[in-house]
């Protein structure tokens, strides 16, 4: 069994390091970050925090060095989905590729390049400590299921889920994994940009009444779009917002972390995804559209010379 992790940042490294524990699986870590890849080749991949691992996946920045694989796991930022799958598609000519990325629209892009696609959502999160070393900040499950327009078989989905669970990353195989994906999408789209645009940690933003109201407005639009698509959400995103306020009051959303270092954000796959799917099914999403425009405006401001 061969598995290639496409995009080996914090999330991709969690998957690569866990899967490399398994005896009968050959794991390839592919990324453009030469320092990280060189460090993995020289000294293996270390995970600290919620997991404690030191494993030795194969690692490369060169797609032509990777053999044909049974599975791909795409973990790039959604901005890089297309170039990443374009350069690695050959590897998966006879394989199934699973996205574990944020937002919606990634599976659609992947399906343009490979025969069988798996829709995935993952909750574990982490950050890069140094090349070759990732800190896992949160645990949690992953949900995977066939991507309907170009599905992998349920049998394949179950094989991947079993491997991931066996490696220590609990994963559920489902016929329809859209509920999990949209629950996370709606939560992220309602909370991430609010932090990114104001500089506030999640709990602090929730305690500013006008912002809490905005979050609810964004959630309501996302829920309406999900309903129009016949998606049954896993849980109520409003409750997730309140729960996150309890357990992660001082957490700075990843999008805020992006803004602080002026890195392009995933707003197009989050709020943009809700807007785009809403348009297709005739659901108005003015607040998500406003947030999308504001984030793009903010990113544009970084290109101006003062």
């Amino acid at each position: 069994m061969k598995i290639c992790i496409v995009g080996c940042g914090a999330i991709g490294s969690l998957f690569a390091a866990h899967l490399a524990k398994l005896n009968d699986v050959e794991v390839w870590a592919f990324d453009q970050d030469k320092k990280h890849i060189d460090a993995i080749r020289a000294g293996g991949l270390r995970i600290s925090g919620k997991s404690n691992l030191h494993t030795y996946p194969d690692a490369t920045t060169d797609p032509s060095a990777i053999p044909a694989c049974d599975f791909g796991i795409v973990a790039t930022k959604s901005l890089h989905t297309r170039p990443a799958i374009e350069s690695t598609a050959r590897i998966f000519a006879d394989g199934a590729v699973c996205s574990v990325q944020n937002g919606v629209g990634n599976e659609e892009i992947i399906a343009e390049y490979v025969p069988r696609v798996i829709r995935g959502t993952t909750f574990p999160a982490g950050h890069m400590v140094e090349p070759g070393h990732v800190e896992q900040d949160t645990g949690g499950k992953s949900w995977i299921g066939p991507f309907e327009p170009k599905p992998a078989s349920m049998a394949e989905v179950e094989v991947l889920a079993t491997l991931l669970t066996g490696s220590g990353m609990e994963t559920l195989a489902m016929e329809d994994s859209r509920g999990a994906q949209w629950t996370k999408l709606i939560f992220n789209a309602a909370t991430n940009p609010v932090g990114a645009l104001t500089g506030l940690a999640h709990g602090v933003a929730c305690d500013v009444p006008a912002l809490r109201k905005l979050i609810s407005g964004l959630v309501a639009e996302g829920v309406a779009v999900a309903e129009s698509l016949g998606i049954e959400l896993d849980s109520d995103p409003e409750k997730l917002v309140d729960h996150a306020r309890e357990v992660a009051y001082h957490h700075k959303a990843s999008m805020l972390q992006d803004v602080l270092v002026r890195r392009s954000t995933e707003v197009a796959a989050l709020n943009g995804g809700i807007v785009t799917f809403g348009q297709k099914s005739g659901v108005r999403t003015p607040l998500n559209q406003a947030i999308w425009a504001l984030m793009e405006g903010l990113e544009h401001s970084w290109t101006l010379t003062k």
Partner: protein, 324 residues
Amino acid sequence: MTEIRSVCVVGAGAIGSLFAGHLGSVVDAKVLVRRKEHETVLNRDGLRVSGKSALQTSVQASTDPTKLGRVDLVIIATKASAVEEAAEQLTGHFPNAIVMTVQNGLGCEDVVARYGQWPIISSITFMSGTRHSDSHVEYELDTETWLGPWPAGSAHTGTANVVADLITRSGLKAKAFADVRPAQWSKLIFNSVVNSVGAVTNLPHLKAFAKRERISDLGNLVFEMMQEGKAVAEAQGIELYEDPWEMNVKAVSHGATGQDAYAHVFSMLSDVRARRATEIDWLTGAIVRQATALGVPVPIHEALFGLVKGLEHSWKEQKGHKVL
């Protein structure tokens, strides 16, 4: 209406200095200031206006209204957030004066009216300048100030005409209206949208504010938000003097602001960059309050109001103040 022979400007920022520096050439100009050294400099050096006008006038400045003698017209030119303090300081003084407000936004007249019986003139100004020092202001945009009687008060159109005439004679541009609300609301809607969007995105008034090609273009947001503001004006029976969207398109395509390199940095964006309290409560917040009272939905205004409030909050957080 008797002749206006002395004017007192409260708050000598750029706009206040422009009024005092010009009016001093036709009537007695007085300035109520907050700082003692400001008083000293103005009494010693007077006010110099450069740029579109070249003037040097003497003014009488004080931190104490009782030292300023008789005043026929008070011009409150502070920021909206300082109007309350200014009006409070005027309580019991200048009983025969007319008071004119020139703040961005809405609601400053109500604040002033709580502190005295003066007839109130509402005004909005489109002129701009840069204050180079306590005694030197540069007159940049020589556009009009529009004024009219505040409908809830005792001023008449005749009062507004006299004030407009005086301002015009001093070398500035002014126009009196029987009802200034159509003009005030045009500018309020324009300002509450572009200022809050600029503050949140860190963008000056670029062409992007009028671009509506892709769905995520900023122009769509600006347009939709202005539609909300127009609905609030309409619900009050106000027929806008100028369409705010056209004001926006014009502002990004003409003159200096037609080039992105020289795009206008909104006052709210300047406040955000300097981490000063903004005028959000008097602009976007004013529209939200009016809309709520009238039952008109303004979700995008509420969103931008919340985001700017959140930004202001984040500075307090960083200074280590207690949350809320």
